[in-house]
Symmetry: C2
Subunit: 455 residues, 2 copies
Amino acid sequence: MDPIARYLEDHRDQFLEDLKAALRIPSVSTQPEHREDVRRCAEHLAAHLRGLDMTRVEVMPTVGHPVVYAEWTGAPGKPTVLLYGHYDVQPPDPLDLWQTPPFEPTLRDGKLFARGAVDDKGQVYAHLAAIEAHMKVDRKLPVNLKLMIEGEEEIGSHHLGDFIREHRSMLDADVIVVSDTGMPGPDQPALTYALRGLLYAQIEVTGPARDLHSGHFGGAVTNPANALCGIIAGLRDGDGRITVPGFYERVRPITPELREMFRAAPFDEAAFMRESGAPAPFGEKGFSTLERTTARPTLDVNGMWSGYIGQGEKTVLPSFAAAKVSMRLVPDQDPDELAPRFEAYVRKLAPAGVTVKVAGLRGCPPFITDPDHPMLEAARRALARVWPKPAAMIREGGSIPVMTTFQQTHGLPSILMGFGLDDDQVHAPNEKISLTSFYGGMRSAACLYEELAKV
Amino acid sequence: MDPIARYLEDHRDQFLEDLKAALRIPSVSTQPEHREDVRRCAEHLAAHLRGLDMTRVEVMPTVGHPVVYAEWTGAPGKPTVLLYGHYDVQPPDPLDLWQTPPFEPTLRDGKLFARGAVDDKGQVYAHLAAIEAHMKVDRKLPVNLKLMIEGEEEIGSHHLGDFIREHRSMLDADVIVVSDTGMPGPDQPALTYALRGLLYAQIEVTGPARDLHSGHFGGAVTNPANALCGIIAGLRDGDGRITVPGFYERVRPITPELREMFRAAPFDEAAFMRESGAPAPFGEKGFSTLERTTARPTLDVNGMWSGYIGQGEKTVLPSFAAAKVSMRLVPDQDPDELAPRFEAYVRKLAPAGVTVKVAGLRGCPPFITDPDHPMLEAARRALARVWPKPAAMIREGGSIPVMTTFQQTHGLPSILMGFGLDDDQVHAPNEKISLTSFYGGMRSAACLYEELAKV
């Protein structure tokens, strides 16, 4: 066993304690009452990094929560790796569904339960362990390393774009590494080479000036709730295809090669559906579940409301109805191009007798990186040294907005090497990280730095 | 001027004070904190009736709020009139929109503003004034009179059906009189001979077992909110016709005579639309606004909710979506026949991947009485003695459930002689009764008793 791997194995208990200490800080970025906790978590992380002999460590302010930045640039001539992660977490609600308190990390059956265990503190601390092993064993890293660990990922990374643009040269690198994604199974590593984008909107329909008596006025005026339902129903056809004109224009077709890749992917559909709790899979005709969730766009209502929503009956004809709607986009769809088309089509679907407003239109482009880039080849070699199976090249259905920002500002290859499992309860009660992922993640990170040094 | 009319005119101030005293009691039937106020209002009304020398006055309990019952049976050989009204009121919310407090009756510009001013305390007290005038001037009434003034009209009269069936013989009568409807204009009296019925339901759609991440699962499972929108959109066609199979089977066609009646009716569509505040009238093709709101059935969403309805964005794929939906029915539609058809059709419209439940299905049949019955002729004669224009025979779009109960238990002709005006803000802030309606209503009631005595 090489000395780095030995160091990681010999210090497992200490690494677990390091992670637990970070998990005890409730760095909930969306809740103002945790503002100080978020700050404390940033300082805690910076202190840990200083202990690793980084050449520079700073807690850097933004308009919102701070960014923890660190670098070690002692490998001239070697590639520079920019590592991105986040130290903020989702709110733990609903609290009563947690088996043990969300901010008291607890080990059960080889899994560490806590809010942020896998998303993303556990994955960040796997890298910190890898850094420590290299520094303690070799007194240096195989590559130059920059870390940018932010505190607003769970609230949309709204200030990170400006931060990246303002510190463009500080963040110069040859490759970006992110560990905030998943792997198909506990012994099946993966590299994510595509993420979906997003187009979010709120459709607001106004009819009468105030709530009316449905007996007196029913039949004479357009009901905004009925109108909203008609609009939303009209956004897709019976086969689940989105009907916004030109919506599929830039969608990359699923080639026979890609289809074969999806078919061969280590994806357990039965387990996925069990996890969803839905009675049956359902979606756009002509595509598999894995294709639908990663390589095809979707349109989902995220929330809607109108009129009387209390107990019992109220015969009101509501004045107002609204829905939050989001579309997941795939390469090469462009949210800036689709936003006005979506808005125009919603207006076209609206019946007479109501006014329709499309508010809060906001987009994030889809992300795709070249799976055959030498940097990704290096990542595959690294994973092959640690795991029993070769890395799967996968797409994920969610979005990481910062990836697009990096592509726009830096134009770099990106390695999304993640260790989350499907049953990790991300954003839900009883979030956990499996120790196989935590320890396997450390070794993978340590090997990754070595393999990237060879590119 | 006849002595009855003179008495009514000479005691206007006292009658106004009597009404104000009743309006000061916040008899809000739906709010538990007003339970004692509702009881107090019943006792107050009973005390007033005792002062009018009724032969029997009782505050009679029900499972819910009590019924005030009174009778005067000193006219053997004359018809018996059963007068129905209600002393409970709607909640006054939103309070901040009232120009003067809802339970401090205030006179402005010949209108008395207070919650319950026209719905229905003002109309009940118009009858009480008419009774007083007859009793003081003649020491008797022209007819036998029974009063049943209930305290649960604003919450659906749920216990009144049982009350009526249990006191079937006590309530025996030759004609029913109700003053809880409207008139087309301040000098245009009306008799309402038809009301719409109701079929109310809550559609509940469940998809995934819990809220899911729309990135991870979007595209793979049916979104219950999208599904609900599809169901609701599918309940009507593009022309506004309801598509539930057999829905129109028993709808009485609008005959050329009826259409002419609608055309000639004193209905100010421009004022009606202004009152609604909707940008334009809209409804079932081939019918006028008046026809659509009174002689044609409707289907309206009264409320709906799903997923995240707070500020900002949340990319959730909701587990649950629901809508409250009500249909207004017209003669001779039967809610008991339509309820299972509606439920079956909703299930048929549901896509795969969700379970649909139709909860709380409850109906109230439409009401129609013979406009040419001698009792209604008598009512027209009474109104002709008071108002400058002959009475319009109108239909109203709302429902009064008790009318159907009466028709089922008693099978009597019914006189709906109401004095509400379109701008009375019923169920809304700044409810009022115009003094022209209050004083005209008293004289109309006094004349009605006299004319009914002649039938």
